[in-house]
């Protein structure tokens, strides 16, 4: 089939018969629609668009037509081929979308699984409680001071107006350091830092001291030989017990909520005069249950000791009590944690069982 065909009869060129072309298109549309996978579509593409497809053959016949017939036949075949290409493209898109969807569906996993490959650690809640208390004080413009745990008796007792023979000094259940004349103890309260701060920083002074303290108590549900205190000391001109109460009220509200009720009642400490004990309204019974176990039915929970700094303490630390007054307070951090979280047995706080920590988040 080479060279121009001059002896032709258009009717006899079957490939270009409009009916034939329509049939080829129809057949292609059906074949493409029937392709149910990208592989089947590939086969259909070869069949209906490939070199040997009826429309490709028809296209090839156009060249043999007389010029007058070429244009019409070319248009007809071109339209048919375009139609087929369009169908193929559309089907391709559908099948590709189906395939993508299927792959994603196949990749579905169980998102309820918890991959505990390396569990998160935790801060100790007592440390977090101490931080939070310190932060409240910092927020009020105070600074955080610290001091040693093995401490001189002078800082622990003498500077704080504990007379050598005063019963209060014996009541502290102090760990003493060998030899007895070393003049060292394990601090029984964070108050020695008061004396250090006054001597080192001078006045005015607003410091809070979180830290560990020691008493000769056997470990049981309500006692630990080591526990934590937050101490506060303010020395300035014109400070009164009203400022002490204001500071404690703010601290209590920040830690236990604005509805907390506090009270001061008279008490005694060698390093303060006047002295007070600060109580919180019972969290459990709110003073309404005479048989309440949390407060013993009194309606109040003891939280900490406080008062106006004893003049002897100011003098021992080189501060003139005629010019300055001060207030001080100390409270249990462990106790604050117990109030906040309901820890009932103190041993849980010191034993270091990781299940205890794990109940809490990285903040409390």
């Amino acid at each position: 089939m080479s060279g121009p065909n001059t002896q032709y009869d258009p009717v006899e060129v079957a490939a270009l018969d409009p009916a034939q072309i329509d049939a080829a298109v129809q057949s292609a549309i059906e074949g493409i629609a029937a392709a149910d996978s990208l592989e089947a579509l590939k086969v259909a593409r070869t069949e209906h668009q490939g070199d040997k497809s009826p429309l490709a053959l028809a296209n090839r016949e156009i060249g043999a037509l007389p010029p007058t017939a070429k244009a019409e036949a070319g248009k007809r075949v071109g339209q048919a081929r375009g139609r087929v290409a369009q169908e193929l493209k559309a089907r391709q898109q559908v099948l590709e979308a189906e395939r993508d969807e299927r792959i994603l569906a196949d990749e579905r996993v169980d998102m309820t699984l918890v991959p505990d490959r390396r569990p998160l650690g935790r801060r100790h809640p007592v440390e977090l409680m101490g931080q939070q208390m310190a932060d409240v004080m910092v927020g009020m413009g105070w600074e955080i001071a610290e001091g040693p745990e093995v401490e001189a008796e002078w800082f622990t007792f003498d500077a704080l107006n504990f007379d050598q023979d005063h019963p209060a000094r014996q009541m502290q259940d102090t760990f003493y350091v060998e030899p007895p004349d070393a003049g060292l103890v394990l601090r029984t309260h964070t108050s020695p830092v008061q004396a250090r701060a006054m001597l080192e920083r001078g006045v005015p002074l607003y410091i809070a001291v979180p830290g560990r303290v020691f008493r000769t108590d056997e470990l049981d549900a309500t006692h630990m030989p080591a526990f934590h205190q937050l101490e506060g000391l303010a020395v300035d001109e014109g400070l009164t017990m009203a400022h002490l109460k204001g500071t404690l009220d703010r601290l209590a509200a920040e830690l236990f909520g604005p509805e907390i009720t506090t009270r001061l009642r008279p008490s005694y400490f060698p390093f303060t005069e006047p002295s007070a004990e600060m109580d919180l309204r019972c969290f459990v019974c709110h003073g309404n249950d005479p048989d309440c176990r949390t407060c013993g039915g009194t309606g109040w929970i003891e939280w900490g000791g406080c008062g106006m700094v004893n003049e002897n303490v100011l003098r021992a630390c080189g501060v003139d009590p005629r010019k300055y007054s001060g207030f001080a307070f100390g409270m249990g951090i462990d106790r604050a944690l117990m109030f906040r979280t309901g820890v009932a047995d103190m041993r849980e706080m010191i034993e270091g069982d990781v299940r205890f920590n794990s109940q809490f988040g990285m903040e409390i």
């Binding site: 650690g121 394990l186 560990r212 001061l264 006047p274 004990e277 270091g352 920590n357 990285m362």
Partner: protein
């Protein structure tokens, strides 16, 4: 201090209907904290019964019980006799008794129900005194009402609670060390009056008026303190009275026994009970001698070396030379003054004449003796807090009165009253001080009124006042002491709440912030923060392999440890952390990562002592320096311990056990978090594996600590899981090294070029040295050098290892050419060859 309300009413008006809780609430306002409420703890039917019959029935166990029919009137709802089994035998048919019926609850939460016993249904119990919380009437068995309450009108079924005073309430309060006078009903009654305004009747003035003055007719007493403590004579006042012809068989009256029991003291014998009664009533401890056993005179003096005394508790005690003694004629020791009497002058059944001592001793002397002899007696407790100097004659008079009334004695007319007493205290008070210290605007009249109310004599002149506190308040010595009185009597609840305005602080220090960050980092890396009591022992250090030459053996020693296994203050955090680890393991945990931050004490072995000083005195600078220097350095350390899997094995696949690389990784984390380059080098140190321990150094060369695998022998000795990993770093060193700002270098945006090198070195060459040489040789454009492969085995030969590094190069200002990169790599390699004997693998 237990305060029986019925007794309190003798000295202060307590309004009818006032409950124990009301009284406690009033007392707490003036500073006497409630410790508890006692009594009124019997509920349900407790009734008077009359025994109709009591049939003894011998039992197989040898006991004989009584099967009783008791008339309890209508109290049982039927009016029929109540059948009760009773084991006591001190009663017969016709006796009036006390029955608790089913449904009743006795002290100690003891519920009564009908129960089958000894072949009967026993519907209740016939009560003994102790079962009802009453003092024993001496019968040792059940209560016989006709004897206990002679003349009482008894009806079967009548309520016995009120009849026996079992509805009586005792308020227990805590007395702070400054308020010694509140160890008496007299003192508490006074405070109740301050709190409520109720009328107070001081029993002392009447007694004091009736007490004879000291005279030569009294028993001879000589105060002969040759060694006063802190300048204070040991005996300030010594009063004696003599009562003769006492009947030692006379019983303690029931009302007194009840009051004593309610106050927490056991009735013993009339003479002893009277002494205790007077102490509780007025606050004056007294002592009673058998007059026949002493010849006199009484001499009060300090102990001499080698003296001993057998005290009332039958203990032979060696006396200390500071002990103040009561002696007979100066020779025979009768007692340690104010603490405890001697056994051989004790009142006995044959005593007829007694010598009563009511003395006032120096608190310091008594406190020291009580402490040294470990005799915290009721008397010592009062003396060491200070007893009213005017109380002695009144207290002696009350004892005389009671002995005369209840023991049939006759008092001698004479009395002894010797001693220098106490100098009067006078306080110059600025009347504006209460307002200035408390923050409540008290007017001056109010201040003066309160001070007079508490018993002070006040002379006002202008805005100042001369205040003489009452003799029962030796604690009032300064202006602020008086301010507290004004504030508490006026009410602490009147104090307003004012937040002070400090000048403004710096916030947390850098070190405080960095410490929080370190703890948060470790927790974020999977470690659990724990803490432990900082006590260790020599044995524990030994088990850790820390020998005596190691500075960590030079620990601060506790003089009074809770146990000998905890007698040193820690020099390392590891023992406590290991205890915690082991505790977790014993409770079933297997994969653990713990850390602890805390202080250790590292004494320098100089054994300096810290001087002490009287209160209120600022030591001079040299003394202060000595005090500070005696306090051992206490660096803050962080320690960690890991065992089990660091990354867990589970459904996602295999995990990885914790090993020495985790210790190094934690060091790396800490260094990077603090912006520090920490270097590690092989080291040997207890308690670590000698081949798997690194010393950690900060850039200036200071040692920050040690990390590694715990020595297998230590794991065994401490019962730790094998191959436990641990470390201990000095946070103070780390934080100090990380001070200062980091200077930022520009970040180049030119392309990076990389080149890999594999170097073979001897096994013993540390990788850090190879890397350092590569870095030094590679020059300024080296951006990173990362070890991506580590191999030892056949292909590199015995005793060798291959280290493969990826070197990354980048210039700040241009794209590096291939030849530049290759040249830099070659310089790096040749530097490594020179310095570590490395050769390129495959070269």
């Amino acid at each position: 201090m237990r305060v029986p309300v019925e007794w309190l009413r003798e000295y202060v008006e307590v309004a009818p209907g006032t409950t124990g809780a009301d009284i406690a609430a009033s007392l707490v306002r003036v500073g006497l904290e409630e410790e508890g409420l006692h009594g009124a703890d019997i509920t349900g039917p407790l009734v008077v019964g009359r025994v109709i019959s009591a049939d003894p029935e011998p039992q197989k166990n040898g006991k004989t019980i009584n099967w009783c029919q008791v008339d309890v009137g209508d109290a049982n709802g039927t009016g029929e006799p109540q059948g009760i089994v009773c084991g006591a035998h001190n009663f017969v048919a016709g006796d009036w008794v006390v029955c608790v019926l089913p449904g009743g609850v006795l002290p100690g939460d003891f519920s009564i129900a009908a129960r089958k016993t000894y072949g009967h249904v026993s519907a209740g119990m016939i009560c003994a005194a102790d079962e009802l919380g009453l003092p024993d009437d001496g019968s040792g068995g059940i209560i016989r009402l006709a004897e206990l309450l002679p003349g009482a009108d008894l009806v079967p079924g009548q309520d016995a609670v009120a009849l026996l005073g079992l509805d009586r309430v005792t308020v227990e309060i805590n007395v702070t060390p400054d308020r010694g006078y509140c160890f008496s009903l007299r003192g508490v009654a006074r405070e109740y009056s301050h709190a409520t305004g109720a009328a107070f009747t001081d029993p002392v003035p009447t007694l004091a008026r009736r007490a004879p003055h000291g005279s030569d007719d009294g028993f001879a007493v000589r105060l002969d303190d040759q060694a006063p403590l802190r300048g204070q004579p040991g005996c300030r006042r010594y009063v004696t009275r003599t009562v003769r012809g006492i009947d030692q068989g006379a019983p303690t009256p029931a009302w007194m026994a009840t009051r004593l029991t309610e106050a927490g003291m056991r009735p013993i014998s009339l003479t002893v009970d009277i002494s205790n009664y007077v102490m509780l009533a007025l606050g004056q401890p007294t002592h009673t001698f058998d007059l026949a056993s002493i010849t006199g005179p009484i001499v009060v003096r300090r102990a001499a070396a080698g003296e001993t005394l057998k005290t009332l508790d039958d203990q032979e005690r060696s006396l200390f030379d500071e002990d103040l003694l009561i002696t007979d004629g100066g020779d025979r020791v009768l007692g340690i003054a104010g603490v405890m009497g001697g056994a051989d002058t004790e009142i006995s059944g044959s005593t007829t004449d007694v010598l009563i001592e009511a003395a006032n001793f120096d608190p310091v002397s008594i406190a020291r003796s009580a402490r040294r002899h470990k005799l915290p007696s009721e008397a010592a407790r009062r003396f060491e807090r200070g007893v009213d100097i005017e109380l002695a004659p009144a207290a002696a008079q009350l004892i005389v009165d009671l002995l005369v009334e209840y023991a049939g004695g006759v008092a001698d007319e004479g009395a002894t009253d010797v001693g220098d007493g106490l100098p009067a205290v006078s306080i110059d008070l600025d009347l504006t001080l209460p307002t200035r210290l408390v923050g409540v605007a008290y007017d001056e009249d109010e201040v003066v009124d309160v001070l007079r109310q508490i018993g002070c004599a006040v002379e006002v002149s202008g805005d100042r006042a001369r205040v003489r506190p009452p003799t029962w308040r030796p604690d009032l010595t300064t202006g602020p002491d008086l301010v507290e009185e004004v504030a508490r009597i006026h009410g602490y609840d009147a104090i307003p709440s004012v937040v002070p305005r400090p000048p403004g602080g710096r916030g947390l220090t850098r070190s405080q912030q960095a410490r929080r960050m370190v703890a948060e980092l470790l927790a974020g890396r999977g470690l659990q923060e724990t803490w432990s009591a900082p006590f260790i022992s020599a044995q524990v250090l030994q088990r850790l392999g820390i020998d005596v030459a190691d500075p960590r053996s030079q620990a601060v020693k506790i003089a009074n440890p809770l146990s000998q296994e905890a007698d040193l203050f820690r020099t390392t955090l590891l023992p406590g952390l290991f205890d915690t680890l082991r505790r977790n393991v014993s409770r079933g945990a297997r994969d653990l990562a713990l850390f602890e931050v805390g202080l250790v004490a590292l004494p320098d072995g100089q054994g300096r002592t810290a001087p002490t000083e009287e209160p209120g005195i600022r030591p001079d600078d040299a003394t202060l320096a000595r005090i500070r220097a005696a306090v051992p350095p206490q660096p803050r350390q962080v320690a960690f311990a890991l065992t089990g899997e660091r990354d867990r094995t589970a459904w996602w696949g295999p995990g990885r056990g914790a090993d020495w690389t985790d210790a190094l990784e934690i060091v790396r984390d800490l260094g990077q978090a603090l912006g520090l380059t920490l270097t590690t080098a092989a080291a040997e140190r207890a308690p670590f594996h000698p081949g798997r321990c690194a010393v950690v150094t900060v850039p200036d060369g200071r040692t920050a600590g040690w990390v590694g695998e715990v020595h297998p022998k230590v794991c065994e000795a401490l019962e730790l899981p094998a191959r436990t990993v641990a470390g201990e770093l000095d946070l103070d060193v780390l934080l100090a090294a990380s001070e200062g700002d980091t200077l930022s270098a520009p970040v180049s945006t030119y392309p990076m070029a990389s080149s890999d090198v594999a170097l073979v070195v001897d096994d013993t060459v540390p990788a850090a040295r190879v890397e350092a040489a590569l870095r030094a040789g590679a020059g300024e454009h080296l951006e990173a050098a990362a070890l991506f492969d580590l191999y030892s085995g056949e292909q590199v030969g015995e005793g060798k290892k291959s280290l493969a590094y990826r070197l990354q190069f980048r210039a700040p200002d241009r794209t590096l050419t291939t030849s530049e990169v290759n040249a830099a790599r070659d310089r790096a390699v040749s530097r490594a060859e020179q310095e570590t004997g490395a050769f390129q693998r495959g070269a």
